[in-house]
Symmetry: C2
Subunit: 309 residues, 2 copies
C-alpha cells in the first residue's frame, strides 16, 4: 500500500496548510476518515462549516486515537506541547509528521515524546501564501511544489515511502536532506526574505518625512512587492525566528555585511561596483524563471489583474 | 488645446518607458509625427522594426527640431548630456519633460541648458516592470498609475496643463510635489526596495553552505519575490543610486538600524517585539490592497499562472 491512502488521518491544526491538506484529501479520496483538531473553538467550528473533515474534536489527544497518519500543522513553537498531548494515544505503527518551516527545533521538541513503534518523520512542504486560517487554504496548493523530508537515522524506510506517496498524491515533488542543512537552506530562501520584508515595511511605516498615505499611494513602484511577505502570519513567523535562530543570525550577518559594502559604494559613487552586482542578480532571476520556479510575466503578471480593476 | 495632443513629439530614449509612451501615442493618435532617437543603433533599428514612430534619427539634436513636446527617457545619469545636445535646436514654446526616477539631480543637470522660451517640466511616471528595452514596453503601462510633476518656481501654468493633459490621456493619475520631497518619497517606496532586493539576491548568490541550485530550486518560499526587482535594468539603477545618494543613504541608515533591533530581538528570543512588528506590517499590506495599489489575490495571483505550466 504505497498509493498515498490511509484509513484514518488526524489533522492537528487547520490553518492555511492543514486546511489545504484537508481539501486535497477530500477531493482525492485519500482517507476514509479525517479527524480535525485545533486549539481555537472558532477555528474548529469554521473547519466544520467548511466541511473539511469527517470529525471535529477540540482535544488533539482524542483526535489522534486510531489514526494511521497524524499531520501536525501548527506554529513551530507549539510542536512540543502537541507532541506531549498526543503521545499517549498514538496507535502502534502510526506515522506522525509535521509541516514546520524549521526542522532541527521541531525534531528536538517532538522526537523525545514519540512512543516506540510510532514513526515520526519530519517534513516541510514549501508551499503557502501570505494568507492564513482555514478559509485561506485551497486544493492544489502543493501541486508542483517541493516537500522536503528530514528523516531521523532510525526512520523506517517503508513508513517513509508511505508518507512520500501521500505527498506525491497531493502533487508535491519530494526531496530529502538532513535537518541542519534544511534549516540553513530555508534561512536564506525563506526566513531572511520574510524578515527583510517585515523590516522594510516597518521602516517605511515609521518615517516622519514621508507620510504613511504617501507610502501606500506610491507603493507600486517597488515597495508593494515586500508587503506581501510582510503580511504573513505573525505567530508562525515569530516562531520561525525563535526556532531557527542560529541559521537566521548567520544569514542576517552576511546580508548586513553585503549591504554595508553597497552603501559604501553609493556614498563614494562607485558605479562599477553597483553595476556589477545589479547585472549578476539579473542572471539569478533568469535562472529561477528557466527552472520553472516563477512566472516570466512582467510584474508577476500583476498588470493584467491591475487593469481589470 | 488641452486635450493632450501635440503636432510633433520627439522621444529621446526608447526603452521600456519611451516605447510604452510611443505605443500609447500611436494607439490614441496623440501626435501627427513621432520622432524617435536613441544612442544605440541596434535599439533605433528595433524601434523602427516595431513601427513605434514616424521618423528615426540617431542624433538627439536633430530629433528635437520642430518638436512641440520632447520626452527624455534615458538613465538619469545621461540627462545632462542629452540636455546639452538638444538645447541649441529646441523650438521656442516647446515643452521638454523627462521620466527620471530622481528629480533634484535631473533638474540640476538639465535646467541650466534650457533656452529662454522653452518650458522644462520635470516629471516621473511611477510605472514600469523589471523588463527593459523597446520590446518590453506596452500600450497601457501608465493606466491608473501616478505621474508626479516637480515643476520649477517659474514653470508656465499653461504649459504644465498641456503636459498634464498628455499624461492624463495616457491614463495616468497626476500629482505634484517639490523635487526634494519627491526624492525622499521615492527613496523609500522605490529605491530602497530595489537596493535591498539586489542585495539579498547577491548575498544568496555568494553563499558557500547553500548551493546556487538549491537557492533557485526552493526560491518559491519567499526569495523569488525579491528576484523580480533585482532583475531591473542595471544601468538605470546604478544611476538612481548615484543621483539620489543623500535620500537613499538616509533610508538605508534607518533600515539598518531597524534591522539591528530585529536581529537583537531574534538573538535574545524577544518574541513579543517580533510579534508586534509582524502584526503592524500586516496592516500596511491591507491598506495597500484597500487603496487599490495591489491585487488582493494570494501570492500576487501567481498560483493561477504557476498551475498552468
Amino acid at each position: 500500500m504505497t498509493d498515498g491512502r490511509f484509513d484514518r488521518i488526524a489533522l492537528i491544526g487547520i490553518g492555511l496548510i492543514g486546511s489545504s491538506i484537508a481539501r486535497d484529501v477530500k477531493e482525492l479520496g485519500l482517507a476514509k476518515e479525517v479527524v480535525i483538531s485545533t486549539r481555537s473553538p472558532e477555528t474548529l467550528r469554521r473547519a466544520e462549516e467548511l466541511g473539511l473533515g469527517t470529525a471535529y474534536v477540540a482535544s488533539a489527544a482524542e483526535a489522534v486515537r486510531g489514526a494511521d497518519l497524524v499531520v501536525v500543522s501548527v506554529p513551530v513553537g507549539a510542536s512540543e506541547e502537541v507532541a506531549r498531548q498526543i503521545s499517549p494515544n498514538l496507535k502502534a505503527g502510526a506515522i506522525v509528521t509535521d509541516v514546520g518551516s524549521t526542522k532541527a527545533s521541531v525534531i528536538a521538541q517532538m522526537a523525545p515524546h514519540m512512543p516506540q513503534g510510532v514513526h515520526f518523520i519530519p517534513g516541510h512542504p514549501l508551499a503557502g501564501t501570505e494568507k492564513s486560517g482555514p478559509d485561506a487554504g485551497f486544493a492544489g496548493l502543493f501541486r508542483g511544489r517541493w516537500c522536503i523530508f528530514t528523516p531521523l537515522p532510525d526512520t523506517d524506510p517503508q513508513a517513509l515511502e508511505k508518507l512520500k506517496a501521500f505527498w506525491t498524491a497531493l502533487g508535491s515533488r519530494i526531496d530529502e536532506m538532513d535537518p541542519q542543512h534544511h534549516d540553513k537552506v530555508l534561512a536564506i530562501v525563506s526566513h531572511l526574505p520574510h524578515i527583510i520584508a517585515y523590516n522594510i515595511v516597518g521602516t517605511a511605516d515609521d518615517l516622519e518625512t514621508v507620510t504613511e498615505s504617501e507610502v501606500i499611494k506610491y507603493s507600486a513602484s517597488g515597495f508593494r512587492d515586500f508587503t506581501r511577505l510582510a503580511a504573513s502570519d505573525p505567530t508562525m513567523w515569530r516562531d520561525v525566528c525563535l526556532h531557527n535562530k542560529d541559521a537566521i543570525l548567520e544569514m542576517l550577518a552576511r546580508f548586513s555585511e553585503d549591504l554595508a559594502y553597497l552603501q559604501r559604494a553609493i556614498r563614494w559613487g562607485e558605479g562599477d561596483k553597483l553595476f556589477d552586482l545589479f547585472t549578476r542578480t539579473r542572471a539569478v532571476r533568469r535562472s529561477i524563471v528557466e527552472a520553472g520556479q516563477d512566472v516570466d510575466a512582467p510584474d508577476f503578471g500583476r498588470h493584467a489583474l491591475d487593469a481589470k480593476k
